[in-house]
Symmetry: C2
Subunit: 347 residues, 2 copies
DNA sequence: CTGTTAGCGCATTCAG
DNA sequence: CTGAATGCGCTAACAG
């Protein structure tokens, strides 16, 4: 930058100001600077700028990068919304592990990002989150809720899952099982709560043995589902807690030579782009991944701008993708109450 | 850091050295420093460090973040390998657009990442890549090849696709169509070349009208496939150039009330986790996404360490996932030559 | 309208 | 074994 200044016959201060447009510069000299800049091949050093400005224009993202396509959508949405506001993303992988999460958040803080979006792991102590707050690092939680003290954005879980269960019950199912996600995640608990609520509303007794742990991923869900269906008195319908576990559950059905929805009806949380290509076409609840990401970024930018604003929890509504795996033959819509909790969209 | 030094009764220089372990410090004073550090709640400022070290321990990644789950796997692999070497990822989205690509790379350079991994867009001038080289920014290309002057890592395309075509031909198909990807990408061209090669080897005449442009994404592939199958003399088998387009093609089949493999046989590039849950189970070619990512990072770190090393092109082999959509009934394996080009794995 | 100068927080010679 | 001093590249008062 000193070179540029010399070559243009001005001071570094002027160079800085033409670069940032931060104060008026006589058009003549500005031209001088401008072409001195590209004759020098000069490139603005964001690092140095960040040091003095105490702001990096970078947002940290701490999620479990792995496997789940839903998080891919989230990352994409977050990235584009961040970019729209001139921010870049620094990517951290929690691997759904509390220690990794803490280390990731630490690293992100060390790199002086302007704020962090994290999909919290099941850490009961929330060490990573506390650390961030401790550093007074702006923070917003996505997907999973932790406490209203944080800014957080998530999706409705209880009512939508209840609606699914009620639908299944109305078709005539009396033994409805659930493949639940990782213990310790709010999404898991809320979806199980929704399941219980649905049963209760349908006048069905809840049987704890019908709820199995699929650990939010494919393989465990596969074996758990297999075990569940191998019981002496297996459920005739299954509610599955997320997308990966749905793949696992379908594998399990195939392993056992069972067909959906004839042998076992299926309804699950999270949609796929190919959900209506599989046999049977999957009845699912689709998350508004894009909106979730956008909201998270907005919340974070607000928090950065006003560190003392009251924390806000945003909860978005998912959409019912009513297809064939529930086995109602398409003839039966949701009950009015359920439909209200869970707006439907034609596939 | 000055605070820490004061509180420990030493100089900043000593503090720096105990933090980085960069020279011997008497255990006694080191302890002093260490607990002064956490009594102060001091956090190492990576930004300032980067400024003086002229190195950020950050790698830039410029890909089309959108939609394609294959890139999700890639990002994951790259991230973990980078992390293994103490580097973090700065994420850039090219959106498969040349201008976005250039801007992304510019930004990444401005942020002084230590190197960049880019999945080049179809820009005929390779402006972004030239820019990076111009800045003498270490660079490696992933997925698509551009020129042996760059470090690049990709997957074999020609022979694997040829093998697919030969397989289809051997089952008896004489009119084999292809849904090709975005023009200008090496993967697209190589896969089309493989298609032609397979036809030639099978003694089939190539008909340009049987190759349609699916633009590497779902929707265009759907309409293109529909148009192709609506021809007076439609193909009886289809080779599809990537995963998203495969979803599109399957939608097209359903749109037309056609079934695979009975009405149209299907074989495609890129595997999915659910490829054997759809009807029919998809015969695909699976990319070694993880290895691609790992190799890319290794190449990049080598380039950073030795800026003048000769450029290297790494080409990995994909795996055949031989399932049902090709319609051979599982009875017919690949010809020996084809099998050699395309190792198979049981689903 | 523009130049001078003092840090931003750290790593690192060079002396002790 | 440790401290003092210099500079990384830039922005922002503060003078002109």
């Amino acid at each position: 930058m000193a070179d540029v200044a010399k070559l243009a016959g001005v001071s570094v201060s002027t160079v800085s100001h033409v670069i940032n447009g931060t104060r008026f510069v006589k058009p003549a000299t500005r031209e001088l600077v401008l072409d001195a800049i590209d004759r020098t091949g000069y490139t603005h050093n964001t690092i140095a700028r960040a040091l003095v400005m105490a702001s990096t224009n970078t947002l940290g993202l701490a999620v479990a990068v792995g496997g789940n396509p839903y998080f891919g959508d989230l990352v994409r949405a977050i990235h584009s919304e961040a970019a729209r506001h001139g921010h870049t993303l620094l990517l951290g992988d929690t691997r759904e592990d509390a220690d990794e999460e803490l280390q990731t958040v630490r690293d992100l803080c060390g790199r002086r990002v302007d704020g962090i979006i994290v999909a919290p792991t099941a850490d009961p102590d929330h060490r990573a989150l506390k650390y961030a707050l401790d550093q007074s690092m702006p923070l917003v939680l996505i997907d999973r809720l932790v406490s209203p003290d944080y800014d957080q954005v998530t999706v409705a879980n209880v009512e939508p899952v209840a609606a699914l269960v009620e639908h299944l019950a109305e078709i005539g199912h009396r033994r409805i099982g659930m493949v639940a996600g990782l213990d310790g995640l709010s999404t898991t608990h809320e979806r199980v709560d929704g399941y219980q609520l649905g049963l209760a509303r349908s006048g069905l007794r809840s049987d704890p043995r019908l709820v199995v742990d699929g650990r939010s991923t494919l393989a465990p869900a596969r074996t758990a589902t297999r075990r569940l269906l191998n019981r002496a008195d297996p459920p005739t319908a299954l509610v599955v807690g997320n997308n990966l576990m749905t793949i696992g559950a379908m594998h399990a059905l195939r392993d056992l030579g069972l067909r959906a929805p004839e042998d076992v009806a299926l309804a699950s949380y999270d949609d796929f782009e190919w959900a209506d290509l599989v046999a049977p076409r999957l009845t699912t609840v689709a998350q508004p991944a894009h909106d979730l990401g956008v909201q998270a970024v907005r919340l974070l930018l607000r928090r950065i701008a006003e560190p003392d604003a009251p924390p806000r929890t945003v909860r978005l509504k998912p959409t019912l993708m009513h297809r064939d795996s529930c086995g109602c033959g398409g003839k039966l819509p949701l009950t009015p109450a359920a439909a209200k909790a869970l707006p439907a969209s034609s596939p």
